[in-house]
């Protein structure tokens, strides 16, 4: 499997996710935002960070980058796209995923480990979570409060396009276990064809037992299978 990690000015999890991809034998290439042609690959990763300093709106300026058109082409051909944190924000600004990411309800940056319930394991990013659907991953963001109107929420729920929801250690999805105020505790969503995943938590940060867990690894091993 081959991947391309897109590097925007201000990306800061680009190296981390590249390390994770390579750890799981996914051959990765870093691609500068100013390129117009995407190298041949199966997976595009939009990494976390503060592209353009999060200025104006998070993800907004990166979504105007030259490389975006070829990513849209890649998606049309059924290629996979994973957007993590700022990458998720960029996907929303490009219109590749619906909804909007508002500031966290407490209006503060939030960095901590959270529990997630894997809602949809029937996609190419999450298939290996079938055996473990309550997981722990770190979040670190200021604008991760996913908001959508009722009809979009209904559509996401009905079509099973929600990948992750914030939950407690027992897997209960409740308001109290929602760190940022997102609608229906949503932490990550898929597009209709399920070839795009946008998520706020950082799987690339938990791929090693010494880092207090390996729940992030499962996402990468799922990709390998696909």
């Amino acid at each position: 499997m081959k991947s391309s990690v897109i590097v925007f000015p201000g990306s800061n999890c680009d190296r981390d996710v590249a390390v994770a991809l390579e750890k799981f034998q996914i051959k990765n290439q870093m691609v500068w935002h100013n390129e117009t042609i995407l190298p041949k690959c199966d997976l595009v990763v939009l990494p976390g960070g503060f592209s353009y300093g999060d200025y104006l709106r998070t993800g907004c300026i990166a979504s105007k980058s030259k490389i975006i058109n070829s990513i849209i082409e890649h998606v049309k051909k059924g290629g996979l796209v994973l957007g993590i944190c700022n990458g998720f924000q960029i996907l929303i600004e490009t219109g590749l995923l619906p909804g909007v990411l508002l500031r966290n309800k407490k209006l503060k940056f939030l960095s901590k480990n959270v529990f997630l319930k894997v809602i949809n394991t029937d996609n190419r990013f999450c298939s290996n979570y079938k055996n473990k659907d309550i997981i722990k991953l770190p979040i670190a963001h200021n604008e991760g409060n996913f908001f959508a109107d009722d009809s979009l929420i209904k559509k996401l729920e009905d079509r099973n396009l929600i990948a992750f929801k914030y939950c407690d250690s027992q897997g209960k999805v409740e308001k109290i276990s929602n760190p940022n105020g997102s609608s229906n505790n949503i932490a990550g969503i898929l597009n209709d064809k399920k070839n795009i995943l946008g998520m706020m938590p950082h799987p690339e940060r938990l791929i090693d037992p010494i880092l207090s867990g390996e729940d992030g690894s499962i996402l990468f091993t799922s990709l390998l299978k696909s």
């Binding site: 981390d16 940060r205 010494i210 880092l211």
Partner: protein, 731 residues
């Protein structure tokens, strides 16, 4: 234009100093030159009050590659890896504008580290505020915390440790000390010393604006029609640009283009150009028309004294300019050849084709004034009788009071606003004895901690200075690392007062004693004087940033209890010193008396033996006993894994409160499995270390036999949410 006495005063230059300037340059300076002198001769740049004493600090051991005097200190952490680190204050700006002040403090210290060729891998901070009830505290605290986070999070460097303290002495003078740690290759360290004649001097990064031009600029504004518009402004940090600057510099550093590099920090272009040239014992000429400016019609005075952030000065090998420019323009940064090195040993500034300044570099650096300030011995706090009835205080209630106080409660509200896990190598997060960062791609790590001790230092600066170094050393030991070196940030009041100077001299004495004995040298740091408002000075506050090496991460420990049924050992002697303790302070509001003494022999012996136990994997968890004493330390070990403890007081001649809340130094708590207890006891005995086996871990209750038994959940609630309650937030 004639330089009036008023202008000289406004530049903070004394009449003696002005005479010295005339003597050194053989004429009166012009306004620009005076501005340059004022920037270079002020306390911040010249260390004129502290130099004499800073020289006494130990600065070398086998691991030190670079001691004080460069942008940051450098130590050897083996396998051709080097660690570059420094701590610095940004106190005054943070009081004026907490968000930007703290943010630019973080930005400045990060630049100090990557200037030397190191990729920053961690930041830490030590922040001090006034009383929690003081009307300014809430805003200052939330502003500073979001400023630190705003900058560090955006750059993508994890904040891995820190401390937050409240004390009324900081009501009008908060402290914001930020530490950055970077990783470099031992053979690829970059220094600021210029070399060679006729080499290009290059300006990179952000444009220069009228940011933070120190009060002195007011003097220049008077001579201008637009005086109002030219008032000094607070520096605004742009972490996005800093991130680009970081990546661009590291990219350029891959080959041998750079001869020397220096970030433009305090006194911007002035101090950077002067430092580079004078270290290299050469001259430098700058054409100010080439300086990229953000505003129109900026004067040479403004350009030279601007403190705009995210800028660097480079001296490149001939012929390397083009490639360098390509890199910086790829990252969207300004790049301008603004001058060259010369053989004149002078700083020459050209503007509109005219020479506007010409100063011998020695007059600005080597010949800058150094003072031997008068000082007097501190009157150390004496043992006076504490309130009589304190032995009647309920133990459990007292524990709750201490744990739920601002200074002793958990700081999760703060550190959750800092990205702790970016870069994917954060092994121990804030809240433990030290933060631990893995060296990328290897199975070794570095332990990092920042510590200060206001109460102890005020009560007795010598003992306090010693204690804070030992505390730092102990925090590194407690995670299983070998302490290597420190960086220090010395925050004091006005050194022109004998009492304050005395605190400074004595604190340095204490630091020197401890660092020398522990072979724990100072490799970088900064001094912040004049933390004083309306004649009220802060308590003497040395902040120590400590760095240790964990050669094998499998031999690391955390403070969290691991299993039920293990032994709990107190390593080191408890004699029950309650003066200056949190128990006296929080429960009895009693603040008199001396701090606990430090016995450096015991400190070292206990520490190295504990380290030995950890490396042999004979202990399951370790925590140092510091403020709050045994009971607080035990609680902190219980909470994370919800494993309780049941202890019985040893049959010794110490009263209950003294034993459980005393703050005697050089002690650790260790969790030991049954199967290892004999071995551990033998090693401790062999090293003549006093220890007590006080009980065992148990299920979710904290229990002192015959005294109290309380559920951890109940205590933890008090410990965890002080800040949430303070800010009126839901939990």
């Amino acid at each position: 234009m004639k330089i009036s006495t008023e202008i000289i005063n406004k530049h903070g230059i004394s009449s003696e100093e002005y005479k010295k300037i005339i003597h050194l340059i053989g004429r009166e300076p012009n306004l620009l030159e005076l501005g340059i002198f004022s920037a270079m001769w002020n306390e911040h740049c010249s260390y004129k009050s502290s130099k004499k004493y800073l020289k006494t600090l130990p600065t070398k051991n086998v691991k030190v590659i670079q001691g004080p005097g460069e942008n940051a200190g450098v130590i050897d952490i083996e396998d051709n890896d080097a660690l570059v680190f420094k701590i610095e204050s940004h106190n005054h700006p943070s009081f004026i504008e907490p968000y930007q002040g703290a943010a630019t403090g973080v930005g400045g210290i990060l630049r100090d580290v990557f200037t030397m060729g190191a990729r920053p891998i961690a930041t830490l901070n030590s922040i001090h505020f006034g009383d929690t009830s003081h009307p300014k505290t809430k805003n200052l605290l939330s502003g500073v915390v979001s400023g630190i986070g705003g900058y560090g999070n955006c750059i993508g460097v994890p904040t891995i440790g820190g401390e937050v303290k409240f004390n009324s002495s900081y009501n009008e003078n908060i402290l914001v000390n930020a530490m950055a740690v970077g990783l470099a290759k031992k053979n690829k360290i970059f220094y600021s010393k210029a070399e060679g004649i006729n080499k290009s001097v290059i300006y990179v990064g952000s444009k220069t604006g009228r940011d933070g031009i120190h009060g002195a600029s007011m003097a220049s504004a008077e001579f201008d029609d637009n005086a109002e518009e030219k008032k000094p402004t607070v520096q605004v940090g742009d972490p996005f640009t800093e991130k680009l600057l970081l990546e661009a510099c590291l990219e350029l550093m891959k080959d041998d283009s750079i001869i020397s590099i220096q970030d433009m920090g305090a006194a911007g272009l002035t101090s950077s150009s002067i430092e580079m040239a004078s270290k290299g014992n050469i001259g430098i000429e700058i054409n100010l028309n080439k300086v990229p400016c953000r505003e129109k019609n900026m004067t040479p005075y403004e350009m030279m004294l601007s403190e705009s952030q995210e800028r660097m000065l480079l001296i490149l090998n001939s012929g390397k300019e083009k490639n360098a420019e390509k890199i910086f323009s790829k990252w969207g940064l300004d790049f301008s050849v603004i001058g060259k090195t010369t053989n004149t040993k002078n700083l020459v500034l050209i503007f509109d084709k005219k020479e506007v300044a010409n100063l011998p570099l020695n007059s600005l650096s080597k010949d800058a004034p150094v003072y031997d300030r008068k000082w007097k011995k501190s009157i150390n706090s004496k043992k006076i009788d504490p309130p009589k009835d304190f032995y009647n205080k309920d133990l459990y209630e007292s524990l709750k009071i201490v744990l739920s106080s601002a200074n002793n409660s958990e700081k999760n509200w703060i550190w959750e606003q800092y990205d702790q896990t970016v870069m994917g190598d954060s092994i121990q997060l804030p809240g433990g004895d030290s933060g631990v960062i893995r060296i990328h791609g290897k199975n070794k790590g570095v332990a990092l901690t920042v510590d200060s001790s206001t109460h102890y230092c005020l009560a007795n600066p010598i003992v306090g200075g010693k204690q804070v170094v030992c505390e730092s050393w102990r925090n590194l030991i407690a995670v299983g690392s070998t302490p290597i070196a420190i960086t220090n940030c010395l925050n004091f009041g006005n050194p022109e007062k004998e009492k304050i100077m005395g605190q400074f001299v004595e604190t340095i004495d204490g630091i020197t004693q401890a660092c020398t004995y522990l072979d724990y040298p100072v490799v970088s740091g900064n001094v912040s004087f004049y933390n004083e408002t309306k004649n009220k000075s802060i308590s003497p506050t040395p902040t120590i940033g400590g760095v240790g090496l964990i050669k094998n991460l499998n031999n690391m420990v955390t403070k969290n209890f691991k299993e039920i049924g293990n032994h709990i050992l107190i390593i080191g002697k408890t004699s029950g010193h309650l003066y200056q303790s949190e128990f006296f302070r929080e429960v009895l509001d009693f603040k008199e008396g001396p701090p606990p003494e430090i016995n450096l022999f015991n400190e070292k012996n206990n520490g190295l033996t504990v380290l030995n136990l950890i490396s042999k994997q004979l202990v399951n968890s370790v925590h140092d006993i510091s403020s709050g004493g045994i009971l607080v330390a035990l609680s902190e070990m219980c909470f994370p894994s919800k494993i309780g403890a049941k202890i019985t007081l040893p049959k010794i001649n110490i009263k209950l409160h003294e034993y459980l809340f005393g703050e005697d130094q050089s002690r650790y708590i260790a969790e030991v499995k049954e199967e290892n207890i004999e071995k551990v006891s033998r090693i401790l005995n062999d090293n003549s270390i006093y220890f007590e086996n006080i009980g065992k871990t148990q299920e979710k209750y904290m229990e002192v036999k015959n005294e109290f038994k309380a559920s951890l959940d109940e205590i933890e609630k008090l410990y965890k949410y002080w800040f949430h309650n303070y800010f009126g937030e839901s939990i």
